[in-house]
Structures are given as structure tokens and as C-alpha cells.
Amino acid sequence: MLEIKHLSAGYEGEQTLHDINLTMQPGEILCIVGESGSGKSSLIRAITGYKGLQVTEGSICFGGQELMRGKRACANGVMGREIGLIPQNPEGSFNPIRTFEKQFREMFASHGMSMEEAQIEGAFETVGLQDYKRILKSRPYEMSGGMNQRIAIAAAMLLSPKLLICDEATSALDVTTAQLVMDELLQMRRDLGTGILMVTHNLGIAKHMADRIAIMYQGELVEIGPCQDVIDHPQHAYTKQLLESAPRMSA
């Protein structure tokens, strides 16, 4: 479904991705784990065609179609319906002063769909949001960061994309809310076969979600393999260090 070959990219002379190669099968959950500055977000920006990031080399194919046009991927045709994105910072994905209702209506219309309130109610409930009518009448600036994040997750889910990219989608959420979102993502994969590319700094989340785990460090993909293999038999020194450092529930 997704195939990235020899991808190198960066910002104004500073290279943040070095020769990344990875593929994703339809319906697969791949977790990309790394710490701040490891290049995880750059990778997502490269796939989604973020304007500030320049791809210096490599190709990005989605569903057999090459997305690269010049220095960046052109994901216009596929973003939203085919590739959904749940950003780390939801404030960046909504207009702060327009109601959610207007923004949701617009989102559906731009993908040729009509807005069904029952669907929205269901999506909101799955991310733990009650009283959908009141939320639809509200504006993003009136909401807390956690609320906006959950609404952004519901929005991405409503379009049921083939590939859902989650950039630290749960890291700003409380642990019980994060659990609701993780359960819902797994449910989406079960029901709709949605593939999920999940970027996280939390190996614990990766362990419970991923089919495969990729570890990034200083702009390189240093290790990739089936979830349990990476956790039980890490190969790279950095992966070993991450595994040793991750807190475990223990008395």
C-alpha cells in the first residue's frame, strides 16, 4: 500500500531523514518509535507533502501511485479519503474561530460525502466525547487541547481512510482516554481494514498496537521487524537502550 524508497529530506540545508526504506501492507499497523529529533515527524511530513520539508532523494508510492513531484510529495488527491492524518497538534488542523459543525460539513463535502449526525455522534462517543450537539456548535478555541485532539481523531476516522497516519496522536491525552483511542483504532483496522502508521515515543503503545515496529534514531531507520521480535530480540544498540529505559509496571 505504501512504499518508501531511499528517502532523504530536510529543512533548509539541515537533513533530518537519511535514506529511509519501508513498505506497508494494506491493513497493517506499523509503529515508528523514536525520541524527539529522531526524524519521525519529518517522515510523516514527507509522506503528506508538508511544504517546509524538502525531499532531496527517493520515492514515495501509495497504492502503486508515485506521490513525489519535484522536491515534495503531492498528496492532494489522496489526503483525507485515502490517507487520513491525526496530527500531534490538533490546533493546527482546525480553524480556531469557526464552529466544528461548519468545518465537519466542509470536510465531508470536499470528499463528496454528506454529513450524517448519527455517524458523528457515534464517532464522538468512541473517543469519549458526550453531547455531540453542543460540541458541533462550539469552536476549537473554546476547547481544551485534549478535546480538540479527540475531535480531530473522530474527524479522521469518519472518512474511513485506507491508511491512517497518527503523529503522537495519543501523547497529549490522559491514559484512560488514550486507551479509548487505541481500542478504537484497533477496531477500525478489524472492521474496515484500515492500515495505521503510528508515530510514537512510547514503546509500550507500540507493543500493544503494532504488527511491526520501526525504530528511528538521528534521522535513520535503525531497525524494523515484527513487534515481538524487536521487543524480545533488539538488534541495534539504541533499541536496546530504549527498551531498558521504558518504564514497566512493577511493584
Binding site: E35, S36, G146, D174, V175, T176, T177, A178, Q179, M182, H201, N202, L203, G204, I205, K207, H208, I231, Q241, L242, L243, E244, S245, A246, P247, R248, M249, S250, A251
Partner: protein, 247 residues
């Protein structure tokens, strides 16, 4: 174990516009000498408010605080600083950006602290003495946070109040700080209240845990009891979710 700190029926209500937020609702707790007490819960549960009440940064509407059996409710932070020190999430913001670390750290310390004592403590925290010449902006987040731990310990206070002190750090640095705190505990006598949303982290470090929700203590017990046999529904949900998000 001797009780070193006690909170009795603490209440605190904040006004947020027209609405009232009950941040501490009849909160009572005990910290024993040498104990590491974890305070866990989700955003807005009142865990940071509890630390602020204990430190004297804010005053309770009602209730009492005692240190070593003596009431200190309403005492200013300048005075509570003799026996307790707070460490914050943002280490950079807790130092004067223009001041070298040497001066910042000794500012809170008793006059008779020797240079050897300082260097020994830095060594225990895996900090090189030459970093004392730096200003906070020249240190990494982990170094700066270890400096604030050094300052708190050097002040002579025997209780540390830690408010999400590793939340801004990466997981490798976080693990290092937790292991340093465990190491220092073997060498120096101090007690700690450790606030964190990260239950796995608290479970590794603390002897007992308090679970908070909506300004109230939902459940308290030894870490082992709470992890293995949580009684309240909320605690069960919190622990189950945390298990699914840790290794």
C-alpha cells in the same frame, strides 16, 4: 515508620470565571520518614494542587498540614523551604537564566556547605563539576533537572516534592533520573512526594501510591497492593490502561 508530613482534611476551591473548581476535596494523607510516595491521576485530578498546598505555594481553604507533628498550615514557601523543596517540570524556568549554576545552587544552601560536599552531590547525580560554570540555557534538559534536584537536596530540606519532573524529558533521560533518585536514596536520608501521570514510572520508584480523581483521593496503598489488587473502579481502569501503554 515515623510520620514526617501529614495533610488533614485539606480543601481548596478555585474560581474559574463563573464556575468553581474543587481541586482538593477533603484530602488527607501521611508521608513517612524515608518514604517515596507517588501521587497519580489524570490531568485536572488535583495532584499538582496537592503538592502546592503542601509546599505553601497556595493556602488551603480549610484543613491542616503538619511537619514532624507541628502544624505549619499557612506558612510561606520561604519558611517551608527549610524542610521541603519543590522540583518542577520545567527545570529551565526554575533557575535564573542569567545566573551561573554555581550561584543558583548555593543560593538556597546553608552557609556551611563545603565545596567538597557540593562536588560529591553532583557526582552522585552524574553531573560534572565544570557544569557549575554554565548558565541554565547551556545545559540539556536532563542536566538542568538534575541541577534542580541537587539544589533541593543541598538546601538541607529532607522532603522533596516533585511535580512531573521527568515529563519534559526523553525516556532515556527519564530512566536515568529515576535510577539516580533510587541511588541517592541509599546514601542520603530524604522523603519524597512524586507527582506523575505516568503510573509505570511511579510504580518503579515509589513505595506507596495515592490515586486522585476530581480533587479526591480515590485510593491509597502500597504500590504492590494497588497494582495487584486495586479496589476502586477508577483505579482498576487507570491501571489497566497504563498496563496497555507500557512494556
Amino acid at each position: 515508620m515515623k510520620e514526617i508530613l501529614e495533610g488533614i482534611h485539606l480543601n481548596k476551591i478555585f474560581r474559574d470565571g463563573d464556575s468553581l473548581v474543587v481541586a482538593a476535596n477533603d484530602v488527607s494523607f501521611t508521608l513517612h520518614e524515608g518514604e517515596f510516595l507517588g501521587i497519580v491521576g489524570e490531568s485536572g485530578c488535583g495532584k499538582s494542587t496537592l503538592l502546592r498546598l503542601v509546599s505553601g505555594l497556595i493556602k488551603p481553604d480549610s484543613g491542616e498540614l503538619t511537619h514532624d507533628g507541628e502544624a505549619y498550615t499557612g506558612m510561606s514557601p520561604a519558611k517551608t523551604g527549610r524542610f521541603l523543596q519543590m522540583i518542577f517540570q520545567d527545570a529551565y524556568a526554575s533557575f535564573d537564566p542569567h545566573m551561573r549554576m554555581h550561584r543558583s545552587i548555593l543560593e538556597a544552601a546553608p552557609k556551611n556547605v563545603s565545596e567538597e560536599e557540593l562536588v560529591q552531590l553532583l557526582d552522585d547525580l552524574h553531573l560534572e563539576a565544570k557544569l557549575l560554570e554554565k548558565r541554565p540555557g547551556e545545559l540539556s534538559g536532563g542536566q538542568c533537572q538534575r541541577m534542580s534536584i541537587a539544589r533541593a537536596i543541598l538546601s538541607g530540606a529532607d522532603i522533596l516534592l516533585c511535580d512531573e519532573i521527568t515529563s519534559a524529558l526523553d525516556v532515556v533521560t527519564e530512566a536515568q533520573i529515576v535510577s539516580l533518585l533510587q541511588g541517592i536514596r541509599q546514601k542520603r536520608e530524604f522523603s519524597m512526594m512524586f507527582v506523575s501521570h505516568n503510573i509505570a514510572l511511579v510504580s518503579q520508584l515509589c513505595d506507596r501510591m495515592i490515586v486522585m480523581h476530581d480533587g479526591q483521593i480515590v485510593e491509597a496503598g502500597t504500590t504492590k497492593e494497588l497494582l495487584e489488587n486495586p479496589k476502586q473502579e477508577y483505579t482498576k481502569k487507570l491501571i489497566a490502561s497504563s498496563r496497555m501503554q507500557s512494556l
